[in-house]
């Protein structure tokens, strides 16, 4: 039972349809795994066992009647920044520790309509601001490969849950690397689609021009199955793109012969850990064996991505998070003298240190006299970065490099040094500034046995291509099948 329950989404769909496994059995088995792992990993903020079993019972009924949807009966988890009607959404913050959303996010509706069973909400860096999942009000998430280490962030709970086989798939959000980087650090796949492909309706907003819902799973194929259920136009998000529906798994099976892989010099320089560099070189050699060619490309402005990001993201965050004022929802300070004091004490108590720092940076760069120097400048350099990528795609079909400069770091190691923490996203941030898609897939381990991921980036709307490139690699290698020691089969 336990080994069946830890199958991939594609395997579980087959087992559920052939009645080898019921959704109730599967859900019970995974709830037991979640329960036994929670003390070690702290991957979940909320587990909804009763609700999950009700959904699983309904799924089994649909399967028995033969009117199942594509993912009927498959348990998943949502990052706790994605609103779920009736089930608490905390954003890993004291501010929203008791907040229950009155409605579902668009991506939640899509995955529910596809038949998935929601088991719970995953832990994360507070308001999705971080690269380690240490800043949650509910305590840090631990890496299942070694619990002394972080799982990456901000969607670290979703990544840890999928890596530890607590759920076969989970949602995340990626504003600067928050899906791709934790996927890399936990040895799983993490897909950030093109901005606008998945609606942001029902995401608690961090940086609206960058926030992108996406998925975690163990295989590229599974990522495609989840994306099929989540993508689609939604008039409630004015930036949701009205495009024809796609089957993101349609290209799986195409050979890679002729694929041109761009290797940006900027992704292979100093500052990349030697074990990471070796694993990426080995992955590129494997892609060449599969018929791809590699071409040297230049992205001269990509080194400015992190500084651009740390102007634009905090600026948007300072505006978005102004809604948390103790009036309409969330925490309100108990003691205050007047309205202004109520706002100030509520926000001082409700937000953690990193969130406050980013609000202050954002307030500063938008304040009188600094707007042109910082915010406008950052938007101009954002254009230069996007132009660099557009030029690169005239020479290649995809761009590859490391997802992060090193494998996971120890819990606490960078917690007091924001700049070192920010530089962890050096290879992922550009994808958010341009809005183009990217997927991190596992491709090796470092000397300490911690996973390494390769980042495969593509031009706008290249999701199906990226998923096939990843899929072909996974047909030829078994990195994605490696499991942390604690996953007992």
């Amino acid at each position: 039972m336990s080994s069946e329950a830890t199958g991939t989404i594609a395997e579980l769909v087959r087992a559920l349809r052939s009645k080898e496994l019921s959704s109730v059995e599967l859900t019970r088995a995974l709830l037991a795994r979640i329960d036994s792992a929670q003390g070690r990993l702290n991957a979940f903020v909320t587990v909804d066992a009763a609700g999950a079993l009700l959904q699983a019972t309904a799924a089994d009924a649909a399967l028995a009647k033969g009117n199942a949807a594509p993912l009927t009966g498959v348990p998943i988890a949502h990052k706790d920044v994605i609103m779920t009607a009736g089930l608490r959404t905390t954003c890993g913050s004291r501010m929203l520790a008791n907040f229950t959303a009155p409605y579902d996010a668009h991506v939640v509706t899509g995955l529910r309509d596809a038949g998935t069973v929601l088991v719970g909400k995953t832990n994360m860096d507070e308001f999705a601001m971080g690269s380690s999942s240490e800043t949650s009000w509910f305590g840090p998430v631990r890496n299942p490969w070694n619990t002394d280490y972080v799982p990456g962030g901000s969607s670290g709970g979703s990544a840890a849950a999928v890596a530890a086989r607590l759920v076969p798939g989970a949602t995340g959000t990626d504003t600067g690397g928050s899906i791709r980087q934790p996927a890399s650090l936990t040895g799983i796949c993490g897909l950030k689609p093109t901005y606008g492909v998945c609606s942001r309706y029902g995401l608690v907003a961090f940086a609206s021009s960058l926030d992108t819902p996406g998925v975690f799973a163990r295989t590229a194929e599974d990522c495609g199955l989840l994306l099929n259920a989540m993508a689609g136009h939604d008039a409630r998000d004015s930036t949701s793109l009205d495009r024809p529906r796609e089957d993101y798994t349609r290209d799986l099976g195409k050979p890679l012969a002729g694929l041109r892989i761009g290797m940006p010099a900027e992704y292979f320089g100093d500052g990349v850990d030697a074990d990471v560099a070796a694993a990426i070189e080995a992955a590129l050699a494997q892609f060449r064996k599969l018929g791809a060619t590699t071409v040297a490309i230049a992205l001269p402005t990509v080194k400015l991505s992190v500084p651009v990001y740390y102007v634009i993201a905090p600026a948007e965050a300072s505006s978005n998070l102004s809604r948390f004022d103790g009036v309409r929802y969330g925490h309100r300070a108990e003691r205050y003298t007047d309205l202004l004091d109520m706002y100030k004490k509520t926000r001082a108590e409700g937000f953690g240190a990193e969130v406050k720092r980013r609000i202050l940076v954002g307030t500063y760069v938008l304040s009188h006299g600094y707007y042109d120097a910082y915010y406008l400048k950052a938007q101009q350099v954002r254009r230069l970065i996007a132009d660099d990528f557009a030029r690169a795609y005239e020479q290649c079909d995809v761009i590859m490099g490391p997802t992060a400069p090193s494998a996971a770091f120890k819990v606490g190691d960078k917690a007091d040094d924001p700049v070192q923490m920010y530089l962890n996203d050096i290879f992922t941030v550009a994808g958010n500034l341009t809005g183009a898609p990217g997927i991190s897939i596992p491709c090796g381990f470092d000397r300490r046995g911690l996973p390494i991921g390769v980042l495969i980036q593509g031009h706008y709307f290249a999701e199906a291509k990226l998923l096939n490139v990843a899929h072909q690699f996974q047909l030829a290698t078994d990195w994605h099948q490696r499991a942390p020691a604690e996953v007992s089969e």
């Binding site: 009155p102 021009s209 926000r347 202050l360 120097a373 040094d417 809005g435």
Partner: protein, 95 residues
């Protein structure tokens, strides 16, 4: 454009975040490091470059000017810290 401790207090007030002297000193140190990173931008020549506000250059969509939302104020106010008669309660502003 050096960020001063007075700036920290000023922006904390603008952002409506209560901050004491000790916290302000720590925040000041960290913000200086963050702006050390950000200030790399200032040397970039961006003359004539159109600012990029958004990943896709698409126009915001328009819709019919019609009522599309039902009244759900009771549901939305059910998560508020203090409500009375359909109104959000805040400390008295005018004596």
């Amino acid at each position: 454009m050096a960020l001063t401790l007075a700036d920290v207090h000023r922006i904390a007030h603008l952002a409506r975040i209560d901050i004491d002297a000790e916290a302000a000193a720590d925040v000041h140190r960290k913000l200086e490091a963050i702006f050390g990173l950000i200030n790399e931008l200032l040397a970039v020549d961006t003359t004539g470059i159109e600012p990029m506000a958004h990943a896709q250059d698409v126009a915001l969509p328009l819709r019919e000017d019609a009522v599309t939302e039902a009244d759900q104020h009771a549901l939305f106010q059910s998560v508020a810290p203090a409500v009375e008669d359909g109104l959000y309660l805040v400390p008295r502003v005018i004596e």
